[in-house]
């Protein structure tokens, strides 16, 4: 698979899985932050 990320500089590597896991990580911590916001209102 060719390059799928415009800012990648290592040829011949797909960066979609990397982007996916980075998004998943950020999303999990965003959810944790939202839970904390909700807990503040308890």
């Amino acid at each position: 698979m060719g390059r799928l990320c415009p800012f990648s500089y290592f040829r011949g590597v797909s960066y979609m899985p990397d982007l996916l896991f980075i998004v998943v990580t950020v999303a999990v911590f965003a959810v944790l932050g939202l839970v904390a916001k909700g807990v503040e209102r308890l």
Binding site: I22, V24, T25, V26, L32, G33, A36, V39, L42
Partner: protein, 554 residues
């Protein structure tokens, strides 16, 4: 010396060493967490990070610091693993695959150290030293920082400040973990663990075959692996590998290291709340559960023998190292699953149904006896709050613990805390069993296969990291699912603990009266032990009935 005598002696020596460490180490940790003085090295760290070391944070700011630090740590370690082939000392290792990198990054940041890879054939030396070992230090320090905030919730009054996360983190790493790990790494090297920068070497075996052996900075990682209740091994065989754990003495020392901070923290708690008896009560509960578990697992491994080979070996020797035997393997298995360590010196999948089931139950208890560094103490303190609340219901009084009233708000946080981890475990295991493709990763069918799946999610969500084995988890689905279980299992409870700390800190303490439940006496030790067993037993009983209990009765 026969095995029975040797087994008893090592248990007694371990109890003696832990008892001797309790007071000085607990007092020292309390000093680290309470002294207003900063060391020069700490001031440099604060300056580099733009931190005001004298400014305390609200619980919400403390939590944001924990989450921000951990999120950046996951992303940084993920990048490190994906780019390791471009780094120094990679010893020819390719980049770690995305799913394995995600699983490993979340695993080490959450203090779980679940490993879906073989360290000696996946990780280069630089990643081991500056990626994984660094997380061994800081993830352990995060746990201690969070429990420090909770204890301050009990000790402070009419304030919304519970301490400074960056100060706690820096102090615990620099004053506690680094010095201890340095000393014990040298002891391990002197005892036979390896410490070098060798790459992969091929040797000829006695049988004429070839075997690849990977050298590396093992002893330095081994010390903090146990001390910080991390558990991630340099080698796939973990502490069963002779380069990590060469002999009976290092085995005993590793068990001591993985227990010592957890068993000393109740002293820190007693010291900080100004009543050492409170610490003795908590450590008594921890000791009762630990000793009972040691007795149950050892007895099962010695006597639950169903095969002729087992009778000849004198017990369940399958999956255990000959140089450690049954007693030291059982002692290690109990200690590693009752803390959040997860290091193993034997194959838990080969334990008897009673012994293997007990290791799962140990983790299901929430790893509170003594538990992970910091996480064990805040876990048992939340259960102590539940126990005080139950006692208050019995006598019709508003419950109070250490002078703080336990109202609706506090009980909501405590209830959410004890529900979170079981939800992650049971939903995760349920989804895995419902998907035919993931169920196919079990190497055994029936109750034992279910135990493998249940163990995996229990280990991940409780941030233990030990593996039952017998299940193929190096797939994208398992790496991702267990990674998510580790993140939610670690940080959701922290949200509720810090919210509880903030709520307690705001209160004006109430004076002790004749109606106050004494929480330092033997009856409270019994009450708390009972609440722990009943709450956990009821939560997990259906799942345990489908796995180890069904197997043991069949």
């Amino acid at each position: 010396m026969n095995d029975t005598l040797a087994g008893w002696l090592q248990i007694l020596a371990l109890i003696g060493a832990l008892a001797l460490s309790y007071r000085p180490l607990g007092d020292y940790i309390a000093h680290i967490l309470t002294t207003p003085k900063h060391l020069r090295a700490e001031r440099i760290v604060y300056r580099l990070g733009g931190v005001d070391g004298d400014a305390d944070q609200k619980w919400s700011a403390y939590l944001r610091s924990v989450l921000a630090f951990s999120a950046v740590s996951v992303l940084f370690l993920y990048g490190f693993l994906r780019l390791q082939n471009h780094l120094l000392l990679s010893i020819g290792m390719p980049a770690v695959t995305p799913a394995t990198a995600f699983n490993t990054a979340t695993s080490f940041v959450t203090n779980t150290n679940w490993q879906s890879y073989s360290g000696e054939s996946t990780m280069g030396h630089l990643v081991q030293m500056t990626g994984l070992a660094v997380q061994n230090f800081v993830s352990a320090a995060v746990g201690i920082a969070v429990v420090a905030a909770l204890i301050r919730g009990f000790t402070r009054k009419k304030t919304d400040r519970v301490g400074n996360f960056w100060v706690d983190l820096t102090r615990v790493v620099l004053r506690l973990l680094l010095p201890l790990a340095f000393v014990f790494a040298i002891v391990l090297v002197a005892s036979g663990a390896i410490q070098n920068f060798h790459g992969i070497e091929s040797i000829s075996t006695i049988a004429g075959d070839h075997q690849s052996l990977t050298g590396g900075p093992v002893a330095s990682q081994e010390a903090i692996k146990e001390l910080g209740t991390n558990g991630g091994g340099f080698y796939n065989a973990n502490s069963a590998h002779p380069f990590e754990n060469p002999n009976a003495f290092t085995n005993w020392l590793e068990i001591y290291l993985l227990l010592v901070i957890g068993f000393s923290l109740p002293r820190t708690f007693g010291k900080m709340v100004g009543d050492n008896r409170q610490g003795y009560a908590i450590v008594a509960v921890m000791a009762i559960i630990w000793a009972s578990s040691v007795a149950i697992v050892t007895a099962n491994e010695l006597h639950s023998v169903s095969s002729q080979a087992g009778h000849l070996a004198g017990g369940m020797m399958e999956g255990k190292e000959q140089r450690f035997g049954i007693w030291a393997s059982a002692l290690f298995a109990v200690s590693t699953t009752l803390t959040s360590t997860g290091a193993v010196n034997s194959f838990h999948d080969s334990f008897s149904p009673g012994g293997g089931g007990m290791t799962i139950f140990n983790m299901m208890l929430g790893e509170i006896a003594p538990g992970g560094t910091g996480s064990g103490l805040y876990g048992i303190l939340v259960l102590a709050i539940i126990a005080v609340f139950v006692a208050g219901l019995m006598v019709g009084r508003t419950p109070e613990y250490l002078g703080k009233k336990l109202g609706a708000r506090e009980m909501k946080f405590a209830s959410l805390y004890i529900l979170t981890t079981p939800a992650v475990v049971l939903i995760g295991a349920g989804v895995a069993m419902a998907l035919p493709g993931e169920r196919a990763n079990m190497l055994n069918s029936g109750p034992h296969g279910f135990s493998e799946v249940l163990y995996a999610f229990t280990s991940a969500a409780n941030n233990n990291g030990s593996a039952f084995a017998g299940i193929t988890v190096a797939t994208d689905w398992w790496n991702t699912a267990l990674g998510l279980a580790m993140l939610f299992g670690r940080f959701l409870p922290m949200v509720f603990v810090l919210a509880l700390a903030g709520s307690l800190a705001r209160q004006q303490p109430v004076p002790v009266t004749a109606g106050t439940l004494p929480t330092h006496r033997p009856q409270f030790v019994g009450l708390l032990t009972g609440v722990i067993l009943i709450v956990v037993g009821l939560t997990y009983f259906p799942a345990l009935a489908l796995g180890p209990l069904a197997e043991g009765l069949s």
